[in-house]
């Protein structure tokens, strides 16, 4: 039985983690493409419009991979977690169904028009289709976050006679306080991924000395949005997220921070390795009193440690949770530093000639993916041992009728399949970047308006 639980957990964790590599770029780029299209339309600048077209192609490849790896997510609630679905489907079925009705239809209908219908549409209508794709992808994000928020902090439900959860208040459930902050934090993270990727491609072009006109646009737009969202990621969204964990999942907070024993004036750990056997941190490097300040806004406040909670309620994998959290926060802090310097150089007009900065910006491309993944691992490992916090334990939720052998079969199948998809995606996107943006014929300065009919 134990191995079946492990395989079902790995099944969901693997497919969800791989899947989320794509939507974070989809959602981030959807916003940036709207920014490029808007500037292009307002200034009547063909470069911005062509830049949007270039990113549209990369967006298209990425979107396909997001869709095909996303479909299994909706299925797996039933296939691998059927007991959980029976238990909580009366509530979370609402948001999952709404995602289909409100987000997927919108996205899929207008993506086709955005990518292949530019000739059939006026510039304004084409801009609108970009906005529709953006709204669709960001709505989709909200419905998923609201679903997850219910698992983190269940509200708006009642327990029916058969023991299942049913909807009691639609708005309490949909506007869950947890969902609103988690959504802000998550979408800001997606915008960071989009910005960093755009900046990295721009820096690559500038370093290479090819398509430098576009390279400047990408760096300029990406650094501004990247800086804004890196700051928002920490404050207020990350801070509020931390507050909610302090209030509603105190045992998770203790595990994330590696606080084995409760104490007053608790320090904030910067580096150190959790030692579960001795219940302490090895090689700690810490800021005294800082954790108390961040959580309770007082230097001397008492923060409860893991010792304040029964062991069966501790998150199952404390070291992984601790590292995920610290990697996320560490990278987030570096993003702010990097983007503030980049913005300063941009303001002084020196960024395009600072090769060292361009190198840093180019090589930063993978790190938002790591930070976003680590963030989700923090949220989901932190929720353990609960599947629905305080209501259902993870070990009770998987499909008892699906044996470990069958689950392993499909897990291996997905691993093989996703390896192929990942290689194909990287190959096609790399090719698109190397091919570069389309040339702009400068004699057609007002291309955007003459092409319409």
């Amino acid at each position: 039985m134990e191995s079946a639980l492990l395989i079902h957990r790995l099944h969901f964790a693997f497919t969800a983690t791989f899947h989320y590599l794509f939507p974070q770029l989809t959602m981030g780029l959807a916003l940036l493409i709207v920014v490029l299209k808007t500037i292009g339309l307002r200034r009547n600048d063909p470069f911005y419009n062509q830049a949007a077209r270039f990113w549209g192609k990369i967006f298209g490849i990425n979107f396909v991979l997001g869709v095909v790896t996303g479909i299994p997510m909706e299925f797996q609630f039933g296939t691998n977690w059927s007991v959980f679905s029976r238990f909580a489907g009366g509530v979370i079925g609402q948001t999952l169904a709404m995602e289909g009705m409100f987000a997927f239809f919108l996205e899929s209908a207008f993506l086709g028009l955005f990518l292949y219908g530019e000739k059939k549409l006026s510039p304004k209508a084409h801009w609108l289709s970009a906005v529709a794709v953006f709204v669709g992808s960001w709505l989709s994000g909200y419905f998923i976050i609201a679903t997850d928020a219910f698992m983190q902090y269940p509200v708006g439900y009642y327990k029916a006679a058969d023991g299942s959860l049913q909807l009691a208040s639609f708005w309490t459930f949909v506007l869950n306080r947890w969902a609103l902050w988690q959504y802000a934090h998550n979408m800001s993270g997606a915008a960071i991924t989009g910005s960093f990727i755009m900046v990295a491609v721009g820096a690559f072009y500038l370093l290479w000395g090819k398509w430098t006109e576009y390279g400047r646009i990408f760096v300029k737009v990406g650094v501004v949005t990247g800086c804004v969202f890196s700051v928002l990621q920490l404050f207020p969204t990350g801070d509020r997220q931390g507050q909610m964990i302090t209030d509603h999942q105190p045992v998770t907070l203790a595990a994330m921070e590696g606080l084995f024993k409760g104490q007053s004036a608790a320090p904030l750990l910067i580096v150190g390795q959790p030692n579960e056997v001795q219940g302490k941190i090895d090689n700690p490097l810490q800021v005294p009193g800082m954790l108390s300040m961040l959580t309770y806004r007082r230097w001397s406040a008492h923060v409860r440690g893991l010792d304040a909670f029964p062991k069966q309620d501790w998150p199952g994998n404390i070291p992984l949770l601790y590292y995920s959290y610290h990697i996320m926060v560490g990278l987030g802090t570096l993003f702010i530093a990097e983007m503030v310097v980049a913005l300063f150089l941009l303001w002084r007009g020196k960024i395009f000639s600072s090769r060292w900065m361009l190198w840093i910006l180019m090589l930063s491309a993978p790190f938002p993916y790591i930070a976003n993944t680590a963030g989700w691992m923090t949220a989901e490992l932190g929720r353990q041992p609960w599947l629905v916090y305080g209501l259902m334990r993870t070990e009770d939720g998987f499909s008892k009728s699906v044996s470990a052998g069958n689950a392993m079969f499909t897990l291996l199948g997905f691993m093989g399949m996703y390896m192929v998809l990942g290689i194909l995606g990287l190959f096609l996107i790399r090719r698109q970047i190397e091919e570069g943006p389309p040339e702009v014929d400068l004699s057609l300065k007002n291309l955007a308006t003459t092409e319409a009919h």
Partner: protein, 345 residues
């Protein structure tokens, strides 16, 4: 309230089969009907801007099923574990077959994605048909409300059935022929010249097979589940189902050789609607029959709480109106015969 949601889900599944059915069907005939690279491009361009939206009906129907009948969703998705996972893999292959093919202009690259697209479309049609067959035949549910079916046992209809037995394979083949014909009608509608003529030819070739399989499947269904006629004898309105099914078949036979492409396509859609609504009508109020009828899953024992279902009507109606709006808009933008030229696919 549960009954209303039963019909909403039935309509959404029907919408999925009619809409995604034509692009699946186009995939089934793709390797036979489209001979030159240019013709292949025409087929892909006919479905390119719409296939993704069509497939959303599957997700939306699945989500709505989850929301309205959580217990049915939990039992059926875990019970059909293996075939559902394979459907997922096939949907992935098919999606990249359509979308990644045009990125590289190399005949070897494109040939690979052509075969991927064609073969996965064929297998998906058979799987979807077999799934319908399983739902009509009944599954080995027990007192826990769960079941698990292996892919096959001995192809007979004993107490421990597999996903595939002679009956579900029959329905799978019928689905393949039906959707091949449906896809041919769509390709005939959207293209002209040799390709259009060839698609029309395939549709005509499918017709006798489709007629024959329809009759056989009705007899076979009655043979394995005589109780399936209960709703038809109790409610006279059920007589509409065979009328619509056979009238549509008649119209297809008349309209196709005359080149009335729109009428033939509409009739083909009506035929599919008739068959699916007929199955839903026969099952109601059972949502998933058990081999042993005391364990049947019904609207009564699977639906979500009353408040949730009531709230759902409000947003579902809004969402459905919006979705219809998008569909009308997009199909109008891409109406008429496809033209080659600038652009993807």
């Amino acid at each position: 309230m549960g009954s209303l949601w039963f019909w909403i889900v039935a309509v959404m599944v029907t919408a999925y089969v009619v809409l995604d059915g034509f692009d699946l069907g186009a995939g089934v005939i793709y390797l036979i009907a489209a001979k030159t690279p240019e013709e292949k491009q025409r087929v892909l361009r006919a479905i390119g801007p719409v296939w993704d939206g069509n497939e959303v009906w599957l997700l939306a129907a699945g989500g709505t099923l989850y929301f309205a009948f959580p217990q049915l969703y939990a039992s059926s998705f875990s019970g059909f574990y293996l075939p559902l996972m394979m459907v997922l893999w096939l949907l992935m292959f098919r999606a990249i077959g359509i979308e990644f093919r045009a990125h590289i202009n190399n005949s070897v690259w494109q040939e690979f994605f052509d075969v991927l697209f064609g073969v996965s479309s064929i297998l998906l049609c058979i799987f979807f048909g077999a799934a319908l067959g399983n739902v009509v035949r009944g599954v080995p549910l027990d007192a826990t409300g769960y079941f698990f079916e292996p892919l096959w046992t001995n192809f007979k209809l004993g107490p421990q059935t597999g996903i595939l037995d002679w009956y579900t394979v029959l329905i799978g083949v019928m689905a393949l022929v039906t959707l091949a014909a449906h896809g041919s009608q769509y390709v005939a509608l959207k293209t002209d010249q040799d390709l259009g003529r060839r698609a029309r030819g395939i549709a005509l070739l499918c017709w006798p097979l489709q007629f024959f399989l329809t009759c056989i499947s009705l007899v076979a269904t009655y043979f394995i589940r005589p109780d399936i006629m209960a709703n038809y004898s109790a409610h006279r309105i059920g007589i509409l189902v065979p009328i619509v099914v056979f009238a549509s078949l008649g119209i297809i036979l008349w309209a196709t050789p005359k080149g009335k492409e729109k009428l033939a396509f509409v009739a083909s859609s009506l035929y599919i609607t008739g068959m699916l609504v007929g199955a839903a009508f026969a099952l109601y109020p059972v949502v998933l029959p058990a081999r042993d009828h005391q364990y049947d899953l019904t609207i009564q024992n699977t639906s979500a709480g009353a408040h949730g279902l009531t709230v759902g009507i409000v947003w579902w109606t809004l969402g459905a109106v919006l979705a219809l709006g998008y569909f009308v808009f997009v199909y109008r933008k891409f109406r008429g015969k496809v033209e080659l030229g600038e652009g993807h696919y």
